[in-house]
């Protein structure tokens, strides 16, 4: 139990002293999870929007495929991405294995279905007549889409929150395609695994605190963004 308190003290010291090693890991963590989330948002929200307003054969199948993807285990994604990126794999010439790019790719695959699935739900829950009304009032399709996105903001930002939460908390895929290389591809979650393996439970706990603080900070910002004036 002492570890919980020791960890808190260590975390405080690490942050106050500006320990360059831990700040580097924090930066890599934020960089990877935010770029992966951003990619997922840029693909996932339009995908959700398109699915909500288009009817075609196989729509049900595609929707359930996305919902299935929301539960995609990161280790499975990590393994499949590895098979592609290894030197012997089809993308081997790109030399991407054990790089941040590889981690971003894997995490984006994990996060995309979550963002797309929740976006679809968020947009479906607003009145389906609204789009037709906007169009009949003379809005261009792009304007109508933009207004719908704004209308569904609450649910869409929830999608971003869920996606980012998955990306920053994920271990399996980062470990496998990133290699958990110190100073290069080590992120907060894999750093915790390493410290546990070394038997430094206090340091592991300290990093856990830092991970929680960082995640909380981002989530507070996203929540404020979600609720706008209601909270400020």
């Amino acid at each position: 139990m002492d570890t919980i308190i020791e960890g808190a003290i260590k975390a405080f010291n690490l942050l106050i002293s500006g320990d360059s090693e831990i700040f580097q890991v924090i930066t890599v963590t934020l960089l990877v999870s935010s770029i992966a989330t951003a990619i997922s948002v840029f693909i996932g929200i339009p995908l959700g929007l398109w699915l909500a307003f288009t009817d075609f054969i196989g729509k049900q199948a595609l929707t359930s495929l996305i919902h299935f993807g929301m539960g995609l285990p990161p280790v499975v994604v990590g393994l499949v991405v590895s098979l592609f990126l290894w030197r012997s794999g089809p993308l081997g010439d790109w030399e991407l294995m054990y790089t941040l790019t590889a981690m971003i790719m894997a995490e984006a695959i994990v996060v995309l279905p979550i963002v797309a699935g929740l976006s679809l739900t968020a947009i479906t829950t607003i009145n389906p007549q609204l789009r037709w009304r906007l169009l009949s009032m003379g809005a261009t399709p792009w304007q109508a889409n933009w207004l719908l996105i704004k209308e569904a903001r609450l649910g869409l930002i929830a999608a971003v929150i869920a996606g980012f939460g998955r990306a920053i908390s994920e271990v399996g895929a980062s470990m496998m395609v990133g290699g958990n290389i110190k100073g290069q591809t080590r992120v907060l979650t894999t750093a915790i695994v390493t410290e546990v393996e070394k038997g430094n439970y206090d340091v592991a706990m300290a990093i856990a605190y830092i991970l929680l603080i960082v995640t909380y900070g981002i989530m507070v910002c996203l929540t404020i963004l979600q609720h706008d004036r209601k909270m400020l």
């Binding site: 700040f23 580097q24 890599v28 960089l31 010439d93 030399e95 941040l100 958990n180 546990v196 070394k198």
Partner: protein, 295 residues
């Protein structure tokens, strides 16, 4: 007003990120090459056994090596079994591993070349202080294993095909025992975690001395068997054969091997752990071969 708040929130987010970025801008710049497609032969990938990574040895070796050779070392910490599997596919450039028999097999297959002994320590058998199998002080590891099996005393196995696990399986084979049953627990985890499970469950396990030393503060299992020649733990560096896998960074692998065997590299290894634990974790063997140990 809405716009105003939005701007405020966004700027909060952005400034939060930029504080972090500035706080470690140097490291971020160092990261940059990893993001793009860095020059193919600048990166050097070495697969190594977990006990080397966990011991912190590489934290001292890598910066010195990168400074001297100019390569950017990517060390991937996996069990020896996985490291050898990666080498057989040509996914890595060099190996730093501890399972001589399995290494010789891969060497014979032609996937790897240029194998050199770097250092050694030894394995020990640890167990609960009650020692119900009564193995304390026994000089022969195989006898100790037989006693554990006979008593069906709890034994925790890594079962991950690592060097440690391969030796453990060899010892069972030499004792003519097929370990099976409730008393034989397979973790599939690294050494540190397996030792911790043995500690929590009060079981016996085979552990390399380096891990036992640096995990010491969390472990209450005493060393029961040590000093048997069969428990010697030899670490080799190996180059992946560039003739077989053209994508391998052969010059980098050679530079890595040369550095580890150089007086500077050997000195770093020999002194590692002395400050933190009061004793070295590894003993250097530069220039020797496994024949010197009767293997």
């Amino acid at each position: 007003m809405i716009v105003h708040h939005k701007v405020r929130t966004w700027s909060l987010l952005v400034s939060l990120l930029s504080i972090l970025a500035i706080g470690s801008s140097n490291q971020l710049i160092a990261q940059a090459p990893a993001l793009g497609q860095s020059p193919v032969h600048k990166n050097l990938i070495v697969a190594m056994t977990t006990s080397i990574e966990d011991s912190g040895l590489l934290d001292e070796l890598v910066p010195a090596l990168e400074k001297k050779t100019g390569y950017k070392l990517k060390k991937v910490s996996v069990g020896t079994g996985q490291a050898l599997a990666l080498a057989k596919k040509g996914e890595v450039d060099a190996l730093f591993v501890n399972s001589p028999r399995a290494e010789r097999e891969v060497l014979a297959s032609g996937a790897v070349i240029n194998r050199h002994l770097v250092m050694h320590n030894d394995f020990v058998i640890v167990g609960p202080s009650g020692d119900q199998a009564k193995i304390h002080g026994i000089k022969n590891a195989v006898t100790a294993f037989s006693l554990i099996a006979k008593k069906k005393a709890l034994f925790i196995s890594r079962d991950d095909d690592s060097g440690t696990n391969k030796l453990e399986k060899d010892l069972w084979k030499r004792a003519n025992i097929q370990p099976n049953g409730d008393w034989y627990v397979r973790t599939g985890a690294g050494m540190g975690q397996t030792l911790q499970i043995a500690n929590q469950k009060r079981g016996y396990t085979l552990v390399d001395r380096a891990t036992y030393i640096f995990q010491g503060k969390n472990i209450s299992l005493p060393i029961l068997v040590q000093g048997d020649k069969q428990l010697l733990n030899l670490y080799h560096v190996i180059e992946v054969n560039p003739k077989k896998f053209p994508k391998v960074n052969s010059a980098g692998a050679k530079a890595f091997i040369d550095f580890v065997l150089s007086p500077e590299g050997q000195k770093l290894i020999a002194s590692h752990g002395k400050k933190q634990f009061g004793k070295p974790l590894f003993y250097v063997d530069g220039g020797k071969t496994e024949k010197d140990y009767g293997l």
